[in-house]
Structures are given as structure tokens and as C-alpha cells.
Symmetry: C2
Subunit: 197 residues, 2 copies
DNA sequence: ATTTATTTTGAATATTCATTCATTTATTAA
DNA sequence: TTAATAAATGAATGAATATTCAAAATAAAT
């Protein structure tokens, strides 16, 4: 019996990330993904149920990875709350800047996919967000973070800011150097715009 | 000769905002917009060139309005920098919370439409952003705002946060009460997460 | 070499909808 | 009343493309 050679499943996913980033999900052509992945159109449907499924798997990969990383971070006892918070920022930052096409896909498609399939959207995202909130709540309890801040609002504030910034970087990296961005995200989210002498 | 009765152009735009918010631009059906607007399918093409054009006009309306409002604010001499900044936040906030469907459409479609038609995207948006940056730069010059902050990054930070939050409110208003959101956006963007005793 | 099991293929299919335009309807002016 | 003009209509068109599936190709087992 015949054996698979290479890993078409992975090749297709990588190609899809590029094509989705380039054209957006709706304008992305299955034929183009097949071409980039060096695979026939038919093969795509061997490995993925349909176009939506490909997008879904991309999100699962991203948020699954982030969830696992954050899970290790949360339980660490050797870090101050600020150090934990900064480490969380770095983690998100690194995940998305590792592959700019992924950053673009998440920035552009996540809202829509959450709307379209609220039941089916990867549970890793919710779990990841839950862990993030845990860190912030712990910091508030310990008095490091401001107790008047609404945790739920803060999470959308931070992730929304992140999404826009990382997308901006992915689209024009020269205008948004990684280190400047990283510093500014950490600083702004912790200290804000005002000059505190 | 026959005169127009009512204002189909406006009716179509309002209906389109609702349908785009409900289904997203790509899943939105022209037939559904026509139905909601109490207008024939053909009439839509009398008033708008095509589906893209409808979306474009929505953005033009929103950012055109915001640009004009912000233009009046920028030149006022009777306000401190913080007051100006807060007024700007209120302005954006009010525009989008006035009509939740509009908020959803902007949150979901803006990134994509900017990508698809960078030349054609409404110049009001760029002009609006330019004015916002002017306020921040002025505040930095006067020493009210922190001079280490990168203005370009700050703008994406703030607008990204805004977009996510207003969309969250539009989708589930009970979870995100307007006043709490408004206060938190102002507070977080000015003071950040940390507890400054 | 032949069989068997599995993978791969891509032309053909089927569906979906945005857009068109010939026709109808309504309004005003003569 | 009638003519002239503009507005409104919606069935028909055509283009686009996601998905299917019967056939072909390949690798291992016999």
C-alpha cells in the first residue's frame, strides 16, 4: 500500500496562511493555496473538510500554542506580578511576530470567525483569555494593579491594541520596529499616556 | 417628469449597515438589503455603483463626520490638553455608540477595506488620524504627555483598543455598560494598569 | 509480477449571487 | 389628456469558484 510522502497537511496550512494574509479569507482561492502548497486541489479536501476548516485549524494552532505557554507562566512563583505581566506581553508578541502572515490572518479574520461560528471557535482562545485575566486579577489582589480597573474591559483594551499594532507591523515592518513596539505596548498598558513626574 | 419620493439612497445605506453588521460584508446579500430598505434590487444600482461602493459610502459618512467634529475641537484654546484628549475620546465614543450596527461594521470591515482599496479609502480617515496625532503631539510638547511615547504607535494602540471595545459593547451591551467603558478607556489610556499610589 | 490498499489528481459539476437592462410605473408640464 | 421625462422594477444573465468523485498513480505486500 502507498505511504504519504512529505506532509501535505502542514504544507497546505502554511500556504493557506500566506494566501489568507495576502488576499483575505473571502478573496483567497483554493486553487491558489493548492498551487503554493504544491498539491492538487483535490488533496486539500483530503486533509481539510472545507475552506472554513482550514481557517479554523489556523486559529486552533495559534491559540492552542499560546494557551500552553501561558499555562506554564501563570503558576510560576518566582516572578513579581509585573514580571509576569511583561512575560505575558512578550509571549503574545513573540508568537505573532514569529510569522507576520499569521499575525495578519488573526488580525483580519478572528472577529468574523468568532461571529460566524461562536460554538465552534477554538476553546483555546477562551482558555487563554481566562489565564490572562487570572494574572491581572492576581495583580489587583496584591495591590500591584489598580483595583478600579474592570478586568474584562482591560482584556479587550489590551488585545484590541495588540491586534492593531501587530497587524500594522506585519503590513509595514519598517514603520513599526519590533523593539519600539514592544516597549511602547508594555509602557502604555502599564503607565498610560500621561507624564507622571 | 417624475420626482423621487422618500429618500431611497438613505434607506439603502441604513439597511446595508444593518445587514453588513449582521452577516459581515461578504455574506451580506444585496437582495436582503433591498428587502430591508423596501426597495427593489434594481434601485440599489441606481443609487450605488456596486456592493463595494455601499461599504465605501458608509465609511465616508462615519469618518467624514468624525473629521469635522475633531477639526473644531483641535483649534479650541479654552481647554487643557487633558480636557482636549478626553473630549476626543468622548467624540469617538459617542459616534460609534450612537448606532451599534455602525460600530460593528467599522470594527469588522475597516482593516479589509483599507487593504483592498488603499487608494480609494476615504481620505477622511487619514485626516481624522492626523488631527488626533496633532493633539497628542501638542500635549507632548507642553509636557502633559510623556515624551518617550511614539505617537504613531500610540494611535494604533488607542484605536485598536477602541475598536475591540466598541465592538464588544455592540455585540453584548449588557456586559459592557457604556459609562464603565468610557471611564475605563479614558483611565487606561492615560494612567495604565499599574497602581500609582 | 501481480495484487492490494492508499494517496493523489483535476476536469466537471453545481450553486450561489452580484449585476444588468428592457419594461413598467409614476409624476410633472404642456 | 397627452407627452415627456425620470424613477423604479425584478426576472434573466453570466461569471466565479468551492467542492466532488471517478480514475490514475504509487508504494508495499505477496
Amino acid at each position: 500500500m502507498r505511504k504519504k510522502e512529505g506532509n501535505k497537511e502542514v504544507d497546505i496550512l502554511s500556504a493557506a496562511i500566506k494566501v489568507f494574509a495576502e488576499s483575505g479569507f473571502f478573496d483567497a482561492k483554493i486553487a491558489k493555496i493548492a498551487e503554493l502548497a504544491n498539491v492538487s486541489i483535490g488533496s486539500i479536501y483530503v486533509y481539510y473538510k472545507n475552506k472554513d476548516d482550514i481557517l479554523y485549524k489556523i486559529f486552533e494552532q495559534i491559540w492552542g500554542g499560546l494557551y500552553n505557554n501561558l499555562d506554564s507562566l501563570v503558576s510560576r512563583k518566582d516572578l513579581t506580578m509585573v514580571e509576569k505581566y511583561d512575560a505575558m506581553i512578550d509571549m503574545i508578541f513573540d508568537t505573532f511576530t514569529e510569522n507576520s502572515a499569521t499575525a495578519i490572518v488573526v488580525a483580519h479574520e478572528q472577529q468574523r470567525i468568532v461571529m460566524r461560528t461562536p460554538e465552534k471557535f477554538t476553546p483555546y482562545y477562551e482558555k487563554f483569555v481566562g489565564l490572562g485575566e487570572k494574572i491581572v486579577k492576581e495583580g489587583i489582589k496584591k495591590g500591584t494593579f489598580n483595583q478600579n480597573i474592570n478586568v474584562n474591559i482591560f482584556r479587550h483594551f489590551l488585545l484590541g491594541a495588540f491586534r492593531d499594532l501587530i497587524n500594522s507591523w506585519a503590513v509595514s515592518p519598517k514603520e513599526f520596529p519590533l523593539n519600539t513596539m514592544r516597549q511602547n505596548i508594555k509602557f502604555l498598558s502599564k503607565y498610560g499616556l500621561l507624564n507622571h513626574k
